[in-house]
């Protein structure tokens, strides 16, 4: 893993602030699924024949952390309108890259998996009710990194949201796979070591039998 991490670092344009596309490449190293997508430069033409519709078009910048607030996300683009919306986004953010991804359909709630660095105890991994309201729900559980799959399962069981895993309203969510993902994220934090300051996977959703990270942010010291 050390080699792979090193190679990932070398590919970064901005070594201190990786953008969303970079961050997604990082979690992919730990077997965490992300939507198929392409990062395109300010001068690039749209070239996404190998990605299935519908599409999400997002500004992809290491300086714009809250994309939605800056109108940096356009959802539900079909083959017809994606070209226009891609241009629109390039006009809106002329100096930035644009990320075009397959837009996943998913069932059940959005989760968040995160890493913070506690000043006394080092890296801790978190799972919680995700999405834009995550800070309002405050439905979270923490463990120190690295944490085992068993520990991660305990974390999920602690959430107010946990009954969704008991076939709630016919939802068939894979708890074990989510626990494995949490454990993998904690492993990532452990491997990256002290330089990792924070990491957010929000939301992570259950799509087509897999947990898939729709947005990833990573921050270094």
């Amino acid at each position: 893993m050390e080699k792979k991490l090193k190679r990932w670092f070398e590919t970064l344009d901005n070594k201190e602030k990786p953008d969303e596309f970079d961050a997604k490449q990082l979690v992919k190293l730990y077997s965490i699924k992300v939507p198929k997508g392409k990062r395109l430069g300010p001068e690039d033409e749209l070239n996404i024949d190998d990605i299935k519709p519908p599409y999400v078009v997002k500004v992809c910048s290491s300086t714009i952390l809250h994309k939605t607030e800056f109108k940096g996300v356009l959802l539900n683009n079909d083959k017809e309108c994606v070209q226009d919306n891609f241009k629109l986004m390039q006009d809106r953010f002329p100096k930035e890259n644009i990320l075009v991804e397959n837009q996943s359909t998913y069932m059940g709630p959005e989760f968040i998996i995160g890493i913070i660095k506690d000043p006394a105890l080092g890296h801790a991994v978190m799972v919680g009710a995700g999405g834009v309201l995550t800070e309002i729900y405050k439905d979270t559980a923490f463990r120190l990194a690295p944490c085992s799959v068993t520990d991660a399962t305990d974390m999920i069981d602690e959430l107010v949201l946990s009954p969704v895993f008991d076939n709630f309203r016919g939802m068939n969510l894979d708890k074990k796979k989510l626990a494995q993902t949490i454990s993998q994220v904690s492993r990532l934090a452990h491997d990256l070591g002290d330089k990792l300051s924070q990491l957010d996977i929000n939301p992570i959703v259950f799509s087509d039998g897999e947990w898939i990270a729709l947005d990833v942010k990573v921050m270094f010291e």
């Binding site: 006394a120 105890l121 944490c147």
Partner: protein, 468 residues
């Protein structure tokens, strides 16, 4: 020498010097010295202004002390205390308790003094407890250096809980109050500012102490956090470890820094980490005492099915509500009693006894009915824990009920927790139960919570054994 081995001499010293011992009964040096008179150890007061205290000859200075002092208790103020430690080190004294405040908690000058103590301890391989330590108290060893009232006469001997507290007053007030209803303390250690000895040292020491079977900590900041957790997890395989971690919210955290001059970490992380490492967290001093009491007196339940035996219908209903309520601790459920159990209880009591759980044998019940119903519940394989709601006001119930319950606890592995109230005599009755070996609480909620501690402990133990 191995630090843990050296702590044995610290906590069970033969020769104790009290630096700043005083004739005055109002001065710390006077109180500490007088407390030690009961210890049957050899005492050496030091004070240039005194010649004799309570018939003991006072040494004018540290140099005049004999060679092999085991422990020096320094009762003088901060700057002078540091100087005297330096002199004592030259004299070869290995262990110190520094009572005075005025160190890291008051600003840069104090911090410099505290850092000096840390350096002295490291360079000379001596043990320093404090500064700002309330001292140590081991009832079985007759060692008591605590200079405030703390219910020492009522704390039971042969206690098995080691209490290690960062804030001395939280410790003594909580335990002093707990002693009203009986509390078995093995040791009290006031950590204070932790310039040298900290929670890990005592965690390791009491983990190996045969007289200790449960460890409780009050902490505001955890030094060497990961190491504490790792060691605690090892200890938790054998003995329950309970932590009251204060400094949870932002405001409380700033209060912590004014109290011991340090900041505490984020609370959610701590909560998760404690669970991860098999440590049982509590949130106030009452819960601390309740948890350590039950965990030291009863071993973990095999499961979480609770039977309730009551002589008062209302409390039985209330108890059921508490058991079935969702709680952040281990879930409990009401046991389903076997037909045989129900039949036995009816035969032993009245044909009209409500034998679905809760079992209500009514205020007409007597000692014998209580005893036989309890037997039936103990022998029911569908029951893991029994909560016994016992009242002493009904005419058929006598004081003998205490011994009846105590006897069953001795003979059975099944934990029995008692909830009782007896008007103004409640505390005393609970203490009598404690003396007989019975864990009792004066409220339904606390009795049910105690059952959760036991189930939580069982789960921790199973998890740790699995991973081993």
């Amino acid at each position: 020498m191995d630090r843990i081995a050296s702590l044995k001499r610290f906590l069970n010293p033969e020769k104790i010097a009290v630096i700043g011992a005083s004739k005055s009964k109002n001065k710390v040096g006077g109180i500490v010295f007088r407390r030690l008179l009961d210890s049957r150890r050899r005492l050496f007061p030091v004070n240039p202004k005194e010649t004799a205290i309570e018939g003991y000859k006072v040494s004018p200075d540290i140099q005049s002390l004999p060679k092999d002092i085991d422990l020096a208790i320094i009762t003088i103020s901060a700057a002078a205390a540091v100087k005297s430690v330096e002199t004592c080190i030259e004299k070869g004294i290995p262990n110190y308790i520094i009572v005075a405040g005025g160190f890291g908690e008051v600003g840069s000058q104090g911090r410099a003094l505290e850092e000096k103590l840390t350096r002295l301890a490291k360079e000379n391989h001596v043990n320093i407890l404090g500064p700002n330590s309330l001292g140590i108290f081991l009832p079985d060893e007759n060692i008591d250096t605590i200079f405030v009232e703390h219910g020492d006469k009522s704390l039971d001997r042969k206690g098995r809980v080691a209490c290690i507290v960062q804030s001395g007053s939280v410790g003594v007030e909580a335990l002093g109050y707990a002693s009203n209803t009986g509390y078995g303390m093995r040791a009290f250690v006031g950590l204070g500012n932790k310039c040298d000895l900290d929670e890990i040292d005592f965690l390791e020491y009491f983990a190996r102490d045969e007289k200790t079977n449960c460890l409780g900590f009050y902490l505001e900041n955890i030094e060497r956090g990961r190491q504490f957790l790792t060691v605690a997890k090892e200890v938790a395989r054998e003995k329950p470890v309970v932590v009251l971690k204060a400094g949870r919210t932002h405001t409380a955290a700033s209060a912590v820094s004014s109290h011991t001059g340090k900041l505490a970490g984020s609370d959610n992380v701590i909560s998760g980490a404690l669970k991860q490492f098999g440590i049982q967290r509590v949130y106030d001093d009452e819960e601390f005492c309740d948890a350590t009491k039950v965990l030291s007196m009863l071993s973990g339940a095999l499961g979480n099915r609770v039977a309730v035996l009551t002589a008062a219908g209302g409390y039985g209903v209330m108890c059921t509500d508490f058991i079935e309520k969702k709680d952040m601790r281990a879930p409990l459920k009401m046991a389903k009693l076997s037909k045989d159990t129900q039949k036995r209880i009816k035969e032993a009591t009245f044909p009209f006894t409500a034998c679905e759980n809760p079992v209500d044998i009514t205020a007409s019940a007597d000692d014998r009915m209580f005893s036989q119903s309890l037997d039936a519940l103990i022998e029911d394989d569908g029951v893991d824990i029994i909560i016994c709601i016992a009242f002493f006001a009904p005419p058929g119930i006598s004081e003998n009920l205490i011994d009846i319950i105590a006897d069953k606890i001795k003979k059975s592995d099944k934990p029995i927790i008692v909830f009782t109230k007896y008007g103004p005599f409640t505390d005393n009755r609970i203490k009598n139960l404690y003396t007989a070996g019975v864990v009792a609480y004066p409220s339904v909620g606390r009795a049910v919570r105690a059952a959760r501690f036991l189930v939580e402990r069982t789960k921790i133990k199973q998890r740790l054994d699995q991973k081993a």
